[in-house]
């Protein structure tokens, strides 16, 4: 039974909170307010998630130094001989925008590369062995696409081109260090990370001596810029994990990044190739297919084997010389540089080498295929039956004086001007 004091209490409390009737407009107002509001994530969940993430990220970013090491990149290159597939995701800044690339390599000769500019797919290359199919947009509006098929002598020669491809990068890296960079400081240290185990970090810092292209980026770095390259190699497997490039512009800026995965399953659908609708089919691309097995003439220097694999003459008498330059096995691997060629024919007419267009392919495994054009003096009318070439396989600083001289018959002239592009 309720006591009197309790009745009084209830009355007093009810008087403090009398029944009320809100005005007619409150409910639409409340509904409108509820419609406009966006549900928030529970703060506790956010806090726990943030703390967990911070903890995990913090752990992964606090490497434990394990001391100095050396030769990590050489070991990474050697380890690639044993690998079956490679998957690379990379991006770098170009004058047109940010270019992203995703590539898959397989030891059986399969290769696929997709290129995106600011997120739009602009180019696809698919290779199965030495034959490469490719499409690309030729304009910024992505309306005009071309598609063509070509033959790559590199893949004919080296079907396990996983390693040769990275070898080419490595070679470019080495050459860039040699010719484009100065005041170089290299540091190679081993670290232990919670997630990835022991990792060798190779950090190179240098000043740009000659602007050029190193992994496609340093063309952006003007002379005198300070640049930094950082490669990471998994210590246990010697597998390359990542490559990063930085330029110093008001502080270090990341301008290129590449992440590598090895021995991954390549999805079946990536073998398919289809060009955009209405893509224009380009002829040609089979230049090397008919020449790569030919030996027209060959000779050696102390360091190089030089093979003429084709001599072609256009309707004006200009000569296209197809060459294989191969470093001797007992010499350090080196694919050389674009060869220097001097030539005169049996009619006494001299030829001038085109320097701007080399049409070359380079490998890091000690050989390279090159096509170079030699212009015949347009005033000369006398026909010749033979031509003599003096070929300098590596006209750079090292072995600059080495050359071979070979005389071969001049074939019949062919219709057209730019024969390799025909």
């Amino acid at each position: 039974m309720t006591e009197r004091w309790e009745e009084q209490l209830e009355q007093a409390l009810h008087a403090a909170h009398p029944e009320t009737t809100p005005s007619a407009g409150w409910e639409p107002r409340a509904r409108a307010a509820m419609t406009q509001v966006r549900p928030a994530r529970p703060r506790r969940l956010i806090a726990v998630t943030a703390l967990t993430l911070m903890g995990l990220v913090g752990l992964s970013f606090v490497p434990i130094p394990l001391g100095r090491v050396s030769g990590s990149l050489d070991r990474a290159l050697a380890a690639m001989e044993q690998l079956t597939t490679r998957h690379v995701v990379s991006w770098h800044i170009t004058p047109e925008g940010t270019e992203e690339r995703e590539s898959w390599y397989s030891a059986d000769g399969f290769f696929r590369e997709e290129t995106r500019l600011d997120g739009i797919l602009t180019e696809v290359r698919v290779a199965d062995g030495p034959r490469v199919k490719q499409w690309a947009y030729l304009d910024g509006d992505h309306t005009r696409a071309t598609v063509w098929e070509s033959f790559s002598p590199m893949r004919w020669r080296d079907p396990t081109f996983i390693s040769s491809d990275l070898g080419a990068e490595y070679e470019k890296y080495r050459r860039a260090c040699e010719y484009m960079l100065t005041n170089m400081v290299t540091e190679e240290r081993r670290q232990y990370r919670a997630w990835s185990g022991a990792v060798d970090v190779v950090a190179l810092e240098a000043t740009v001596k000659e602007p050029g292209t190193l992994w496609g980026v340093f063309s952006l770095a003007p002379r005198g810029d300070r640049v930094r390259l950082v490669a990471e190699v998994e210590a246990a497997s010697n597998r390359l994990l990542s490559l990063k490039e930085y330029c110093f512009r008001d502080g270090w800026q990341l301008v290129s990044e590449e992440y590598d995965e090895w021995d991954v399953q390549i999805p079946e659908e990536l073998h398919e190739f289809s060009a955009p609708e209405g893509a224009e089919l380009l002829p040609g691309g089979d230049w090397w297919e008919s020449r790569v097995t030919q030996i027209v003439a060959q000779d050696e220097t102390p360091d190089w084997r030089v093979v003429i694999q084709g001599v072609d003459v256009n309707e004006n008498g200009d000569v296209f010389l197809s060459l294989l330059l191969e470093r001797k096995p007992d010499r350090a691997p080196h694919s050389g540089g674009p060869p220097l060629v001097e030539a005169y024919d049996s009619a006494g007419v001299t030829y001038e080498q085109e320097r701007s267009r080399w049409g070359a392919e380079v490998s890091g495994k000690g050989f390279g295929y090159w096509v170079t054009r030699l212009y015949r003096d347009p005033q000369a009318t006398a026909r010749a039956s033979a031509i003599t070439f003096t070929i300098f396989p590596y006209p750079g600083e090292e072995g600059a004086g080495e050359s071979v001289t070979l005389t071969v018959p001049l074939p019949e002239r062919q219709e057209g001007d730019d024969l390799p592009a025909r």
């Binding site: 209490l9 008087a15 403090a16 009398p18 009320t20 809100p22 005005s23 409340a30 307010a33 928030a40």
Partner: protein
């Protein structure tokens, strides 16, 4: 006690959970259901807490519902009934509003005496009785205010007017059930002493 006491209808605890789930999913009609079930009781509570400032109470009802929708992801049925959780939001808004008023140095709404509810009386006799009762009740209330702390009075209001359980009061004022139990016991003892003394 279930939420029936608060809502004035037989809506069980599970219905509150179902409504919370519907709000979380942004089901059509969930907003209207929320208004229908809790609009009047919240308005009464807010109005009473603000000393009869009906318009301000309306604004805070709107804000309470908007805040409820915004924070619906954090509602845990195992820790509070939906009504308790909702009144907790309203209570926080009242406290914020009071702080705001203090900063503005305005006359607090609680200092005003409201007789608006009396207008609903149907006859002169009823009106006279209501006025008498109301005046007597307000006099009792004034005495209680002198003896009880604000927290003790608040617990009594939630218990006697809105019929919240000890656990529900805990979720409204942010205290454990045992703390509320102790608070309620102390408040009742003080109220009895004061009211029996007056008699």
């Amino acid at each position: 006690m279930t939420e029936a006491g608060v809502c004035g209808s037989h809506t069980g605890h599970d219905d509150g959970v179902a409504l919370a789930a519907a709000l979380r999913r942004r089901d059509p009609g969930a907003d209207s259901e929320l208004c229908t079930r809790y609009g009047r009781s919240l308005h009464r509570y807010l109005s009473g807490s603000l000393g009869g400032a009906h318009e301000l109470a309306e604004d805070l009802v709107v804000q309470t519902f908007a805040e409820a929708v915004r924070c619906i992801g954090s509602y845990r049925p195992q820790r509070a009934t939906f009504a308790g959780w909702l009144f907790g939001i309203a209570r926080r808004l009242v406290r914020l509003e009071r702080r705001r008023q203090e900063r503005r140095k305005s006359v607090p709404a609680s200092a005003q005496v409201s007789l608006e509810g009396l207008a609903e009386s149907s006859s002169p006799h009823d009106l006279a009785t209501s006025i008498t009762e109301s005046v007597a009740a307000k006099a009792q209330l004034a005495r209680l205010r002198a003896s009880l702390s604000e927290r003790e009075l608040e617990v009594l209001v939630l218990h006697y007017v809105y019929e919240f359980s000890v656990q529900e009061i805990g979720s409204v004022i942010g205290r454990s059930g045992r703390a509320v139990e102790s608070l309620l016991h102390r408040a009742k003892t003080k109220a009895r002493e004061r009211l029996t003394q007056d008699d």
